[in-house]
């Protein structure tokens, strides 16, 4: 959408920052010949999940020495009906699919709750805690990463008024995250949370004298499907004779679509304590615009994008419209580019966008369309060039070391039930870093990663890129030591190195797990090789681990903190 050069990525920003600060530039960067197989499989696990312990990469590469084979094996596992199992290493409460009345009535959440379940102390925040728990611990990491992508894509901003509705909304996002986009769009558009968020609930068009609310109609085109400007298949903008972008739709199109999408009403069945059925959307034909369409800007309102728009009798308007929208010529490059910006590289080359857009188009009716697109992104020849080309989101930073090392979130106040309080700690730290997943700091379609804009300044004054929060987020490092499951970590290192690993071995384990440093590079630094000098993470880690012999838990926790606070850990 914007005519700007795109020469530099975030890795360069961080490198420039490090250079300016007098630091070694980029110790863990890939060799000039390109990333190794190990680095690439770690790259895949970071980009398409929330990272993994080094043992996962070891296992994948032991069966498939080439990274791409290993990656495809992992993708096949992740898209092959993998059971949704919560990690035993992160012993958190699974998100409630449904709550009993007894659970609802019990004040077991560790903080004051109303006695009526539906009025839980802000159901949205309670739900968000469950979302974070699930995302951190689930075995379905690919699905969870896509779930986050679509949550930001569809931009429902949580609030206490739609907290309970978020359960069902997120369930359809999660269930369809790797499925078919048209199915996903249709399901989301019918969700009460979405109808509330973009005010299409009770948007009654039966009174010709009152125009409909056009909020949803605008955004379903602008941010959900094909964007404001017509795109070529390679993602470039279609321009007119003056070089100006050609708009995808007019105001008349917005109004025509808004009229077509009237008639949906959210109903709240009384006394329903199951959040998945707490609110339901009903299409009420009598509330659909029935009259002869008025003129708007001189255009008849039964024309949409230059074509007649007549909802067939008995058809569900959302489903009918969704089919049109996903087949708009700009939808494939728009979605392809957005997914590449999320999963591959900030400024995807035209050829990359074109190839992925073609896959998107060719799979438009496939039930696993999105999964096929993901496979195409990973298998594309340009994917290796995306290694360490972006910066991590806060959730990737925070969950990264918790999954790599591993994390162990203790139940709050020792309560055996109230593990959710631990998830509150995650939420507090994450929001301190500027990311609030169900209050998206970004509407990704407007503002791709790094191009950050708040949708709600009440909750996001400061953002996770820029200044304060990028590093203020490292105050979460206070918790790193407490959150690391040291017995398990030591057991893993013992499996690899024996019962008493040396400082060098521990440094190799931690630096490899967290920032992809090859063991040889750590050994070189340890041997005084001048290739590593100054205050880079390798030398700092080695120094920290050499304070005591053997290194104590405190030494290891400090080393972990040092690595997590390093500029290199920001790189994704």
């Amino acid at each position: 959408m914007r005519k700007r050069p795109s020469v530099f990525g975030y890795r360069h920003v961080l490198a420039a920052a490090a250079l300016a600060a007098g630091l070694a530039a980029a110790a863990p960067a890939a060799a000039a010949s390109g990333p190794t197989d190990r680095q690439m499989i770690d790259h895949v696990l970071r980009r398409f999940g929330f990272s993994a312990p080094p043992e996962v990469a070891d296992a994948l590469l032991s069966s498939n020495p080439h990274w791409l084979n290993a990656a495809n094996a992992w993708l096949a596992q992740q898209t092959g009906g993998l059971t949704d199992v919560q990690s035993s290493l992160i012993p958190l409460e699974p998100p409630p699919a449904a709550l009993t009345a007894a659970e609802a009535a019990a004040s077991t959440k560790g903080y004051p709750c109303n006695t009526v379940y539906i009025s839980w102390c802000t159901a949205d925040r309670d739900y968000e805690d469950g979302y974070l728990e699930h995302t951190l611990g689930t075995s379905r990491q690919l699905q969870a990463k896509l779930e986050l992508h679509w949550l930001e894509h569809f931009s429902v901003v949580g609030s206490s008024s739609i907290g309970t509705e978020m359960y069902a909304y997120d369930k359809v996002v999660r269930d369809n995250a790797l499925g078919n986009f048209q199915t996903l769009l249709t399901a989301v558009a019918r969700q009460p949370a979405e109808l509330y968020a973009l005010s299409n609930n009770n948007n009654i068009g039966s009174n010709p004298s009152t125009p409909p609310n056009v909020n949803f109609a605008r955004e379903v085109m602008q941010i959900f499907t094909f964007g404001p400007v017509k795109l070529n298949m390679d993602g470039s903008e279609v321009t007119d004779a003056n070089g100006m972008p050609v708009l995808s739709y007019s105001e008349a199109d917005i109004y025509a679509l808004a009229y077509a999408l009237t008639g949906y009403v959210v109903q709240d069945p009384p006394n329903d304590v199951d959040p998945l059925t707490y609110a339901v959307t009903t299409y009420v034909p009598a509330h659909h615009y029935q009259g002869v369409p008025a003129q708007f800007h001189g255009h008849p309102l039964n024309q949409f994008l230059g074509q007649p728009l007549t909802i067939p009798p008995g058809a569900d308007p959302i489903a009918f419209v969704a089919r049109l929208l996903v087949r708009n010529p700009s939808t494939a490059p728009f979605q392809a580019k957005e997914m590449l910006q999320r999963f591959a590289i900030e400024n995807p080359p035209a050829a990359y966008v074109r190839d992925i857009a073609n896959v998107w188009t060719n799979t438009v009716d496939a039930p696993d369309q999105i999964a096929q697109v993901i496979r195409a992104i990973v298998n594309h020849p340009l994917f290796p060039s995306t290694y360490q080309s972006m910066t991590k989101q806060p959730i990737e930073k925070l969950f990264g070391y918790l999954r790599q090392l591993p994390g162990e979130l203790a139940p709050f106040n020792g309560s055996p039930y109230n593990t959710q309080a631990a998830a509150q700690l995650l939420r507090y730290n994450l929001t301190a870093m500027g990311q609030d997943p169900l209050y998206p700091a970004t509407v990704f379609s407007f503002y791709p990663i790094g191009d950050v804009e708040a949708t709600s300044t009440e909750n996001n004054y400061t953002y996770w890129l820029g200044t304060a929060n990028s590093y203020a987020g490292s105050t979460s490092s206070n918790n790193i030591g407490a959150w690391i499951d040291m017995p398990t970590l030591r057991a893993r290192m013992a499996t690899k190195y024996g019962a008493s690993p040396t400082a060098l071995q521990i440094a190799q384990y931690l630096l490899g797990a967290m920032i992809d440093v090859a063991p040889a590079d750590v050994a070189n630094a340890n041997a005084g090789n001048p290739a590593h000098s100054g205050s880079d993470p390798i030398n700092l880690t080695l120094a920290q681990l050499s304070k005591d012999s053997p290194p104590t838990d405190a030494d290891i926790q400090s080393a972990i903190w040092l690595i997590a606070a390093s500029p290199q850990y920001n790189v994704n």
Binding site: A17, S250, I254
Partner: protein
Amino acid sequence: MANILNRRSVIKGMAGMTMAPMLARVMTSEAAAAASTPPILVVIEMNGGNDGLNTVVPLSQLGAYQALRPTISLTPSQVVSTFAAGDGAQYGFHPAMSLNLALDKSGNTPMNGLPSVFNGGNGPLAIVVGTGLPGFDAQRTSHPCAREDWYVGRPNAWVAGGDGWLGRVLENQSYGRLGPSASTSGVAQLLQGRYSSGLVIGNSLASFNMNFYGPAASASSAAGAWLGAAAGGTNAMQISTALDQKTLGDVNVVNGANGMAGIAQTAPLSDYIYMNPNHVTSLEMQLFTIARLILGGSGLLGYFASFGSFDTHDLQSAGHGSLLSTLSGAMTNFYSYISQKKASFGIANNVIAMTISDFGRTPHENSGLGTDHGVAGVSFILGDGVKGGLHGAYPSLTRLDEYQLAVTVPFQNVISDIVKAIGGNPVEIVGASYPSIGFI
């Protein structure tokens, strides 16, 4: 937007390490700063697109107004501080602005002992009506595109990109060691200049006290080593500010950032005025922070604050009032407080606050009892040297432009007058010459 800022940061980071002339220019500016008192501009964004029609109600067009808005229009008995513009047309303010802006008819019902800033049009509060992005298409009524035009000060900036108009003006001024500007609401394209970018600070100076602890004492000093900041007691704000500004090439900012804590101590402003101390709004927190930086002698000349959301697509009557209440109360308290305290803190600069918003809203209400994205809206300018009252021509409600309120004062014209007031070259900044609107 942040994306471009980051890309440019790289370029500037490289430039900063090699371009001595730029650093010399900054130092020269510092030396000159003592002898100069350029105005300080605070831009407050009403994000989401404020409904100007229900903010300043055109009572002289009451019939058309109520016909367009059978449900959400305000009645003459509801609006407050009615006044007549120069042409005799009558206007009134949204009732939520009454108490906080002291906009009563007599002009002498102050809040917390502060004088009215409107005072029947005789105070330092100007209202520019009919302002917005000329023309009308689906892009200009898109939030990000409209905002980008406002930030850059040029139409179609959403296509071409560009630096912020305030950033471009301020980097030619004699700003202090912290740089030209700061944002309390994230990375601000408005503050992006050719060589500089605004500091990004939180809504509270508490950020400056955020300690960078590790699990072991040694880690804290190591963190200092990481980022080139002072070892021991290093705080996250210093580090991050230093890091960002290093990429911008301004080495002095490291020292400046280290001075931030001192500034915060200089101006604790414990007697700052809030509408309700038990429920301080986001805008009040942002303006309080800005007040501390101004009175603390930061030397920053431009600020960006943002709050909302004014995107009132449905049930507008339920939420619009509280937003306007926040705006009017926070702006009034901020300006009045600064005015009262400036001398005692040794600050001689004029201080001006202005509002911008994505766009106005549709003149007609929709079936959700809200309004949709529109065109012309309202800007407020409050400050030293401002000629109060209504400026510009209120759009006709009977001669709509494509069903929308026509722009009578192009947004570049408002920016042009502000640029001139703060010492910039308006033609250079907005790309054309505009007649003075007369509010300053």
